[in-house]
């Protein structure tokens, strides 16, 4: 008789996405555990407690907690969505840019530097405005649009003095005059599921910052760039953010590995949570053979 699959869902907060995912699990009669990342621990000498899971879906709100949990689960041989390798790349904007560049996937022009002097030199070479981004961070936090040298000097000094050591990895990006919107595309495995335009009057168009969503038809161009982006970072369940660059056309701005879809699900009319659960089950089944 075939053994019943057991799924773990690692989470921090029960956001609406987690409610939908739990609901989809229950609707399908799946045996699953809710794993609050603040309550769990990993005894490295007792992996059995974790090896009961055929797959774990990671939905941690903290990048660090999620990443280390994935690393340990993968070390224990537990399949995860996404894998630790994918989270490592997607959670770090500079790593994402590096693999996109390696694979020739269109993206904005980015430069990295490790001292305020080298960063200032790189910014001056770009010309103004430019954007400074933390290598780790979401929801549009701590993005800085730098309009002149005075601002560059001030922000670089603040980052190096007040920030953690990670803020001294300066990730500098060209400022893109986008048409007041960007695109969020959801990828599941090697399939483009759906997409939306995120519009905002502000140069930061993240819906976590008040941007609004509108359904975006998936063109062959969107499909092609998303498939290439997904392949570059290692595939899985991804939210690919695209920007319409005035000269380069569509470029990949960033790729999210634990994407939120509270705006996308109602905009698309699709059961994204159900699609996610089906994908996790597929991963669990493929590891069970």
């Amino acid at each position: 008789m075939q053994r019943r699959l057991k799924i773990g869902v690692l989470y921090s907060r029960v956001r609406v996405e987690e409610k939908w995912i739990f609901g989809a699990m229950e609707k399908r009669g799946i045996d699953y555990d809710r794993l609050d990342d603040r309550a769990i621990s990993f005894d490295l000498e007792k992996p059995e407690a974790w090896q009961q899971y055929d797959a774990v879906l990671e939905r941690s709100i903290s990048y660090n907690s999620g990443l280390y949990a994935l690393r340990m689960l993968n070390a224990f041989g537990v399949p995860t969505v996404n894998t630790a390798a994918v989270a490592e790349v997607c959670g770090d904007k500079l790593m994402t840019s590096a693999v996109l560049a390696r694979d020739g996937v269109p993206q904005p022009h980015n430069v990295a530097a490790f001292s305020t002097e080298a960063a200032l030199e790189a910014i001056e070479a770009f010309g103004y405005p430019v954007v400074l981004k933390p290598v780790v961070g979401s929801w549009g936090r701590l993005l800085a649009k730098i309009n002149d040298r005075d601002a560059a000097e001030a922000v670089l000094e603040h980052k190096s003095t007040l920030g953690s050591v990670q803020h001294s990895v300066f990730y500098i990006q060209e400022f893109i005059e986008k048409p007041g919107r960007d695109l969020r595309i959801i990828m599941i495995g090697d399939k483009v599921l759906t997409g939306m335009y995120r519009s905002s009057e502000h140069w930061i168009t993240n819906t976590a910052r008040g941007g609004s969503g509108e359904l975006c038809p998936i063109t062959p161009e969107i499909e092609d760039i998303c498939l290439r982006a997904s392949k570059a970072v290692g595939g899985g369940l991804l939210g690919v953010d695209l920007v319409e660059h005035p000269e380069k056309g569509l470029v990949v701005n960033e790729i999210n590995h634990t994407m939120e879809f509270h705006t996308m699900q109602p905009v698309s009319g699709l059961d994204i949570a159900g699609e996610i659960v089906d994908y996790v089950v597929k991963v669990a089944k493929s590891s069970d053979q």
């Binding site: 989470y11 907060r13 029960v14 956001r15 987690e18 409610k19 739990f22 809710r34 609050d36 709100i61 903290s62 990048y63 660090n64 933390p134 780790v136 961070g137 979401s138 929801w139 936090r141 701590l142 953690s164 976590a208 939210g239 999210n256 634990t258 994407m259 939120e260």
Partner: protein, 56 residues
């Protein structure tokens, strides 16, 4: 319907049907984020502050 008291402003807040433990609700009086820590009995506490590595 379960009622909880906001630990910040002592407002009485009703938990709507379908509320789950771990969910974040907002106090309608003072606007603070509250985490639902238990449904039976209903309990809330101040939600953790947003950290630098939070997000998607």
């Amino acid at each position: 319907m379960s009622t909880v008291t906001c630990p910040e402003c002592e407002a009485q807040i009703e938990l709507v049907a379908g509320t789950e433990a771990g969910e974040i609700i907002v106090c309608s009086d003072c606007g603070v984020d509250l985490e639902v820590t238990s449904i039976e009995p209903a309990a809330v506490q101040l939600a953790p502050m947003e950290q630098e590595d939070w997000g998607e």
